[in-house]
C-alpha cells in the first residue's frame, strides 16, 4: 500500500517546552488515521507542522514520497485542511469564498467544481449568504467543501466538529464517511470525541506530552484496557454494598443510593455478583459496560490509573 504521509523523528521545541517529541508515523493511501490525546498533547502542533504553517525543530515529512520541505507547493496542491478553529473570510459570500479557494488551488473550471460539491452537500441556498451569517453547521459544511475543492488526496482535519450540536456532528460525520467510501480520501483526523474517532478512523495514534504512546486500531486499543464497568442496581443499604466492595478492594462509584459502578476485570464479574448475592443485598439490574476508546483515553491521560468511564 502506498504511503501518503510519512513522518520521521518530528520534533518541535519552544524554548524549554517540547510540544512534539521525536514522533514517527505513516498514513497509508485511503486510510483514516485519528490523532488522539489530551489537551497539550501536541496534536494541533503536529497538524500545523504538516501544513507548513509552523516549522519543525527537527525531523522529516514526506507527502506522496516527496520531501515536504523541498516540494512544499507541489505537496500542498494535493492536500487540504479543515478545522473548526479556522473559518473562511466572513465578510464575503460563500460563493465568493469558494471561488477564491478554487483559484488558489488552480482548479480547472472552478464554477463547475464548486457546483458539483454544492449539489452534493445540498448547499445551494447558502451560496449568496455572507459566510459570517451562516450557522455553525452550515459553516462546517462549507469548510468541508473548501477542503474538497482541489480533489485532495489527503485531508488534515483538526477537530472539524468542535462546538457543533450532536445532530450536526452526526450529519458531518455521515458526509465524511461517505467521502471516505466514494472518493477513497486519506484522512488525518484529530478530535477529543472518542465516538467520532471510533466511527471515522481505521487507526489511532495516541499522543501524550508530544510523544506517541499508542498506535493501533480502535478495537485493539480498547482491548488494552482490562477493566470493564459493572453497573449494579440493588435493593438494600448503601453502606452494606460499600462495605462489601471495600473488602474486595474494588474501585467503585455510586451514581445514586441504589446504583453503583464498579471497575472490574471481566473474568471476576461472576464471583462478585455471587458474593453480593450472599449478603442481604438484592441485585435488581446488572449492566456490563465494555471498555471504550474513552476509557483508553482516560487511562493514558490519568497515567495508567483504572478509571470508571461516565458511559
Amino acid at each position: 500500500m502506498n504511503k501518503v504521509l510519512e513522518v520521521k523523528n518530528l520534533t518541535k521545541k519552544y524554548d524549554h517546552f517540547t510540544a512534539v517529541d521525536n514522533i514517527s508515523f505513516f498514513v497509508n493511501e485511503g486510510e483514516a488515521v485519528g490523532f488522539l490525546g489530551p489537551n497539550g498533547a501536541g496534536k494541533t502542533t503536529t497538524i500545523q507542522i504538516l501544513l507548513g504553517i509552523t516549522s519543525p525543530t527537527a525531523g522529516t515529512i514526506k507527502f506522496f514520497g516527496k520531501d515536504f520541505n523541498k516540494h512544499k507547493k507541489e505537496c500542498l496542491q494535493r492536500i487540504n485542511f479543515a478545522s473548526a478553529f479556522n473559518t473562511l473570510q466572513g465578510r464575503i459570500t460563500v460563493w465568493e469564498n469558494l471561488l477564491v479557494f478554487a483559484h488558489l488551488y488552480k482548479v480547472k473550471s472552478p464554477k463547475t467544481k464548486i457546483m458539483e460539491f454544492i449539489n452534493y452537500f445540498e448547499g445551494e441556498s447558502l451560496l449568496k449568504q455572507r459566510y459570517w451569517d451562516l450557522s455553525a453547521g452550515q459553516k462546517t459544511k462549507i469548510n468541508l467543501i473548501k477542503a474538497l475543492i482541489n480533489d485532495p488526496e489527503i485531508i488534515l482535519m483538526d477537530e472539524p466538529t468542535a462546538s457543533l450540536d450532536p445532530d450536526v456532528v452526526d450529519k458531518t460525520l455521515y458526509f465524511i464517511e461517505e467521502l471516505k467510501k466514494s472518493r477513497k480520501i486519506t484522512l488525518l483526523y484529530t478530535s477529543h470525541n472518542m465516538d467520532e474517532i471510533t466511527r471515522v478512523c481505521d487507526k489511532i495514534i495516541f499522543l501524550d506530552h508530544g510523544k506517541i504512546v499508542a498506535e493501533d486500531t480502535p478495537l485493539n486499543l480498547t482491548k488494552q484496557i482490562k477493566t470493564s464497568a459493572l453497573k449494579l442496581t440493588f435493593d438494600g443499604k448503601k453502606e452494606e454494598m460499600e462495605k462489601y466492595l471495600k473488602n474486595q478492594k474494588l474501585k467503585y462509584e455510586f451514581s445514586n443510593k441504589y446504583t453503583v459502578k464498579i471497575a472490574i476485570e471481566e473474568k471476576l464479574i461472576p464471583s462478585v455478583i455471587f458474593g453480593i448475592s450472599k449478603t442481604a443485598l438484592w441485585i435488581t439490574d446488572i449492566e456490563v459496560q465494555k471498555p471504550t476508546l474513552e476509557d483508553f483515553f482516560l487511562h493514558i491521560a490519568r497515567k495508567g490509573e483504572n478509571v470508571i468511564s461516565s458511559n
Binding site: 507541489e74 473570510q89 466572513g90
Partner: protein, 262 residues
C-alpha cells in the same frame, strides 16, 4: 508563479472591498474629507502672502494619498483574513509569498490610482487646482516612487503583524503618519530642524515631494531627485523583503503564525 493564484488574492481583495463599509470609509471617505479640508485651507492661503503654499498643500495631500492607500491596502489585506481566521486556510494552499505580495501590490496600486483620480478630480473641479499641471511623466515617476516606498512600509508592518500578532495591528493604519512630517509632505524640507532634515533626506518620498513642489511652477523633471528617490526605494524595498522573510520564518518557528487566529 501562477496567474490564477494571484487572481485568487485579487478576487478576494475585490470582494472584501465591495462588502466592507470599513474599507470604503478608510479609502474613499477619509480621502475625500482630507482633500476637502486641505482644499479649503488652500483657498484660505491663496489670499495670503504666500499663495504658492496653497498649491503645495494640495499637491502634498494628493500625493500623500498614494502612500496612505497603498500601504493600507498591503497591511490590511492580511488583517482581514486574520480577523476572519482565514489566513491559515490561505497559506496552507499552494500560495507562495511572492504570489501573495504581487497580488497585494497590484491591489494597492489599483486602489491608489482610483483614489488619486477621485481626489484629483475634486481638487480640479472644486478647488481649481489641476494635479496634471505637474506633468504626466512627473506624476507617473512620483506615483512609482511613492508606491514602492509604501510597499516597503506595508511589507515591514505585515512582517511585524505576522511575527507579533494582532496586538500590534494599530501600526497598520497608524505608523504611516509619522512619515508625514518626516518626508515634508506639506512644506519644504528647509523648514525642518537640521537633524530632521537629515532623516528626511534618508527617506525616498522627501525627494518626490520636493520635486513635486518645484513642478507647481516649472514642469521640468528633476531627474536628480527622482533617481535618488528610486535608489533609496530599491534599497528599502530589498531591506523590507528580507525583514519580512525573517519575520515570517520567525513567526512559523515560534508558532505565532498559527496562533494569530487563535
Amino acid at each position: 508563479m501562477s496567474f490564477q493564484v494571484i487572481k485568487a488574492i485579487l478576487l478576494q481583495e475585490f470582494y472584501i472591498t465591495k462588502h466592507s463599509l470599513e474599507v470604503i470609509v478608510d479609502l474613499f471617505y477619509f480621502s475625500v474629507v482630507n482633500i476637502v479640508v486641505f482644499g479649503f485651507v488652500s483657498l484660505y492661503l491663496t489670499g495670503s502672502n504666500n499663495p504658492q503654499a496653497a498649491h503645495f498643500i494640495l499637491v502634498g495631500m494628493i500625493l500623500w494619498e498614494i502612500i496612505r492607500v497603498t500601504q493600507y491596502s498591503i497591511s490590511l489585506g492580511s488583517l482581514w483574513n486574520i480577523w476572519s481566521r482565514n489566513l491559515s486556510n490561505m497559506f496552507v494552499a499552494p500560495l507562495s509569498f511572492m504570489e501573495y505580495m504581487i497580488a497585494e501590490i497590484i491591489a494597492g496600486a489599483v486602489k491608489a490610482i482610483l483614489i488619486v483620480a477621485l481626489v484629483g478630480a475634486i481638487s480640479h473641479f472644486v478647488f481649481k487646482f489641476d494635479i496634471l499641471q505637474l506633468g504626466i511623466i512627473n506624476l507617473l515617476l512620483f506615483f512609482i516612487n511613492l508606491t514602492i516606498f509604501s510597499w516597503s512600509i506595508g511589507i515591514i508592518i505585515l512582517g511585524l503583524i505576522f511575527r507579533y500578532g494582532t496586538r500590534i495591528q494599530a501600526l497598520a493604519w497608524g505608523i504611516i503618519f509619522i512619515f508625514q512630517p518626516l518626508t515634508a509632505v506639506f512644506f519644504p524640507v528647509r523648514i525642518l530642524p537640521d537633524f530632521m532634515q537629515k532623516i528626511a533626506y534618508a527617506l525616498p518620498p522627501t525627494f518626490i515631494f520636493e520635486a513635486a513642489r518645484a513642478n507647481v511652477s516649472n514642469t521640468a523633471t528633476n531627474w536628480n531627485y527622482i533617481l535618488i528617490s528610486f535608489g533609496e526605494n530599491i534599497f528599502y524595498f530589498i531591506l523590507a523583503l528580507f525583514f519580512f522573510i525573517l519575520m515570517f520564518n520567525k513567526s512559523k518557528e515560534t508558532g505565532q503564525f498559527a496562533r494569530n487566529e487563535g
